[in-house]
């Protein structure tokens, strides 16, 4: 028997199972058992700060405990722990006092991802002005690494904003409203805004590597698709969403 792997296997199993007195070690084993759960729950609070505020300590702790029990960490850095919390919460509605909380989780995670996403150059209007007229239809653009486009089922943004500013803020009940939320980072500050369906569709075309002509096609119900596409493009450049032309 190789003693070290066996010892570590038993130790880890006991921590994961919450066994307080394993036979393999003597002393205060419960400190490791408690520290494991406490540390991972704290990581979830850090990664989902507004969800935590919205749920309160008790409900969030129950969600965190259940998640930790089913999702032992495989990450080197605890910063990434909790990547599946939204899906987990949706699959366990008993742990979520209101279904809109899943959207707060989505928004928290998207902003957390934008915060330390890779730095990128920013495409300027002057860069775009160099594109020859005949090249426009086939022109592709690259989004910055920090850009996130997520779909929400509820209008949770006012709640997110209020709780982000003040943990005790009074908030109205969210209304069901399927829409897209754009998250991005400019310099070192993260931003977000909700998008109407047309702009979200157009931006998705860019995200998928589509051409300017395909952006226009995605807007075929619009009176003037090319003009609308150009307007969106200007706005995306102003907000610093684009990294470069391809």
């Amino acid at each position: 028997m190789n003693a070290i792997p066996e010892l570590q296997h038993q130790f880890q199993d006991a921590v994961l199972a919450g066994t307080l007195v394993p036979v393999l070690a003597t002393g205060h084993f419960e400190i490791y058992v408690n520290a494991y759960r406490g540390r991972l729950a704290e990581a979830l609070r850090d990664n989902y700060p507004v969800l935590y505020r919205a749920m309160g300590d008790h409900a969030f702790s129950q969600l965190a405990c259940s998640y930790v029990a089913e999702h032992p960490s495989r990450f080197r850095s605890i910063r990434w722990f909790g990547d599946d919390l939204t899906a987990f919460a949706e699959a366990h509605p008993d742990l979520l006092p209101h279904p809109a909380l899943a959207d707060l989780a989505r928004m928290d995670w998207a902003l957390r991802g934008a915060f330390d996403a890779a730095d990128s150059d920013t495409l300027s209007a002057a860069d775009v002005a160099t594109i020859a007229v005949e090249k426009w239809p086939g022109q592709c653009f690259v989004l910055q690494a920090a850009v996130r486009l997520i779909t929400l089922q509820w209008n949770v943004e006012p709640i997110w904003q209020a709780l982000n500013q003040d943990e005790n803020a009074a908030t109205d009940a969210p209304q069901a409203l399927q829409h897209s939320l754009l998250v991005w980072r400019r310099e070192f500050e993260c931003h977000w805004r909700s998008l109407d369906a047309r702009e979200a569709t157009a931006l998705l075309v860019i995200a998928d590597g589509g051409t300017f002509a395909e952006v226009c096609e995605s807007l075929d119900e619009d009176a003037n698709p090319a003009q609308t596409a150009a307007m969106y493009l200007r706005q995306w450049i102003e907000h610093g969403l684009l990294e470069k032309i391809l």
């Binding site: 792997p5 490791y32 494991y36 960490s73």
Partner: protein, 279 residues
């Protein structure tokens, strides 16, 4: 070749980024938690680069799992090496522990069994990492709350032997020595006296939480009187060693930590002066 780094440092924490940039406080060097900067970009790396311009740095990792039995995480090592290239630390340290097995990470610093087999295991793994990183690693003693019936030697014998076998250097955490001494009932001075002086490159000081019959290493309090006393003993025994204060929670204003760091500086200087007078 050994990179020289001297004096008294602090752990760089996000709360103090602006203070280091705006006020250039009198801290000789900074220790950064490697994992905090193994991210693609954004604020963490910006501040790291900005502050690195003004302060020497050392890197301190928490998830190498040198004592683990899984193969090393190649992606983690690659990122670690990239960070080394980026900030050129005076040295890199991690903990003499394991953090998980079977691809899991318990995100804790778990004690090794103090056996000859563990020494061989660690020596081989240290060699592997040091070869990959192209530089020596410092190994830090951890606080522990359990011992294993399979132990064949004391922790201090184990560490001294490891330094001899592997040639690794040591980051001696004086608070961890004290915490473990209370938890396991040994004399912390015996531990300190067993440390091979030529291998001790850095010292950590930190606060802990006293639960009466045991102590938890929390890094959320000022350094305790007992740890100050043990630090003075350490300096008498080892001479001046680069020393820093670790604070990871309940983080006070930077000025408060600098006052505590100045106390460490004074204590070390007074201890050495007294030793010289007595000689």
């Amino acid at each position: 070749m050994k990179t020289e780094l001297q004096g008294f440092g602090l752990g760089l924490r996000t709360d103090h980024y602006r203070d280091f940039i705006d006020a250039s406080p009198r801290v000789d060097w900074l220790e950064v938690i490697s994992e905090n900067y193994l991210v693609p970009g954004g604020k963490p790396l910006y501040f790291l680069d900005r502050i690195r311009r003004d302060y020497p740095m050392v890197m301190h990792g928490v998830s190498l799992s040198i004592g683990g039995t899984d193969p090393f995480d190649a992606d983690y090592l690659k990122q670690l090496k990239a960070l080394v290239d980026r900030i050129q630390p005076a040295w890199i340290s991690d903990h003499l522990c394991w953090t998980g097995t079977e691809s899991l990470n318990l995100h804790d610093l778990l004690p090794m069994p103090y056996t000859h087999a563990a020494l061989r295991h660690l020596t081989a793994r240290l060699q592997q990492v040091q070869d990959y990183l192209g530089r020596p690693l410092l190994m830090e003693n951890v606080s522990s709350y359990v011992t294993y019936p399979s132990d064949e030697m004391s922790e201090w014998e184990f560490i001294a032997e490891l330094a001899m076998c592997s040639g690794c250097d040591l980051l001696l955490d004086v608070n961890n020595v004290y915490v473990s001494s209370v938890n396991h009932g040994f004399d912390p001075h015996v531990f300190i006296d067993a440390m091979p002086a030529q291998h001790v490159r850095q010292i950590h000081l930190a606060g802990h939480e006293d639960h009466g019959s045991y102590i938890i290493d929390t890094h959320d309090h000022p350094v305790s009187d007992a740890v100050w006393d043990l630090y003075a003993h350490t300096i008498r025994r080892l001479g001046m060693v680069p020393t820093m204060i670790e604070r990871d929670d309940n983080i006070p204003p930077l000025a408060e930590l600098i006052t505590e760091l100045d106390a460490a500086r004074r204590l070390a200087e007074q201890t050495l002066a007294a030793k010289e007078r007595a000689a």
